[in-house]
């Protein structure tokens, strides 16, 4: 009755009218209560379950794990970047030194003093490969003096010292 009142409260002016309307519904409710639903037989229930269960996607566990792994966008992005770098490296025909590539400092070391700068490292070694311990020194005699560039290196296991004005 409360719910009926809630549903029809705006349709009737007085409580009597509402009650009268509710009474007119009683036989309808009685009829509706008789509307029984036939039960499914156990055989049909089992059949429906079997077919429904078989109809679900049959994914293997390793596939699910792989799928879950790639569902993480940040991880997928990172893997994409690494894969891209490897592919680029292969395309550029340059092998990757995964053990650790030389850092910028090792490629070119610079030693600073007040009036001089000494450059050495892999780049200088490669450029002057015929010399031992090659280095380039840029120095000035004073604050305002012009720069002077010289190459220093040795030959024959240090027996010959080379100084070369550049």
């Amino acid at each position: 009755m409360e719910e009926f009142e809630e549903l029809f409260h705006d349709s009737f002016e007085s409580q009597e009218e509402l009650l009268s309307e509710y009474n007119s519904f009683l036989s309808t409710f009685e009829r509706l209560d008789q509307a029984a639903v036939p039960e499914l037989s156990s055989r049909r229930k089992a059949q429906i379950f079997k077919q429904s269960w078989q109809g679900r996607p049959q994914e293997s566990s390793w596939f699910l794990i792989l799928l879950d792994f790639f569902r993480k966008p940040a991880l997928t992005f990172a893997i994409g970047i690494v894969t891209g770098c490897i592919l680029m490296s292969v395309v550029m025909n340059d092998s990757i030194d995964l053990a650790g590539t030389a850092s910028a400092d090792e490629l070119l070391e610079v030693e600073h003093t007040r009036y001089s700068q000494t450059y050495k490292g892999k780049i200088i070694d490669d450029f002057y490969s015929e010399f031992e311990n090659p280095e380039i020194v840029v120095e000035k005699a004073g604050e305002t003096a012009p720069e002077q560039r010289t190459f220093h290196g040795t030959l024959d296991n240090g027996e010959i010292y080379v100084v070369w004005n550049l």
Partner: protein
């Protein structure tokens, strides 16, 4: 209903997600009667109901990975059932092979679940109610069935059908008025 079983729906769902067939069977047996009842009252044709019920469970097992255990499984299941049954009914109505009320009546009278030895009065009343339910729109019918027969709160029905609570109340009110008109006239004939 859950008090009958020591294992919660959520625990069963976790097992089902891992592919446990027994857990799926437990879950299925726990809810199948309610699902069948709802489908029966929405779809109305006894021959179509079983296909509809199967479609519901196919969807449940296919999409159970998406179900979040923080929500009520029964509410999720109600939503899947109601929407599947509504879609099923609409497709069936549009289908070329759609049959009329007389055919449905004949099926209802001869189907296994409705033995012919029942009293004619009972069968006739069932038929009248079915016809009356068929005359109201499927959305109105669903709202009415979920409230009147399944005793779901209006708010849950609104969420299930994707409409406002006011719309659900309107559906139920119109259903009641239509059913009273149909049943009063027919049953007195």
């Amino acid at each position: 209903m859950n008090q009958q079983y020591p294992v919660s729906d959520e625990a069963l769902i976790e097992a089902v997600k891992k592919g446990d067939r027994n857990a799926a069977a437990w879950l299925y047996n726990r809810h199948i009667d309610r699902i069948h009842r709802i489908c029966c009252r929405i779809v109305l044709d006894p021959l179509q109901v079983q296909d509809c019920v199967q479609e519901v469970w196919l969807k449940v097992f296919r999409n159970i990975d998406r179900f979040q255990c923080s929500k009520s499984f029964a509410a999720w299941l109600n939503t899947v059932t109601a929407n599947t049954a509504i879609d099923y009914y609409r497709k069936w109505i549009k289908h070329d092979n759609h049959v009329g009320s007389d055919d449905i009546r004949a099926r209802a009278m001869t189907t296994d679940e409705n033995p012919g030895d029942r009293k004619l009065d009972g069968a006739l009343i069932q038929q009248r109610i079915r016809e009356a339910l068929e005359k109201i729109s499927v959305n109105q019918r669903t709202a009415f069935i979920l409230r009147y027969y399944e005793d779901l709160p209006v708010a849950e029905i609104a969420e299930t059908l994707g409409c406002s609570e006011g719309a659900v109340r309107t559906h139920i009110r119109r259903s009641l008025l239509a059913l009273r008109a149909k049943l009063a006239g027919k049953l007195n004939q």
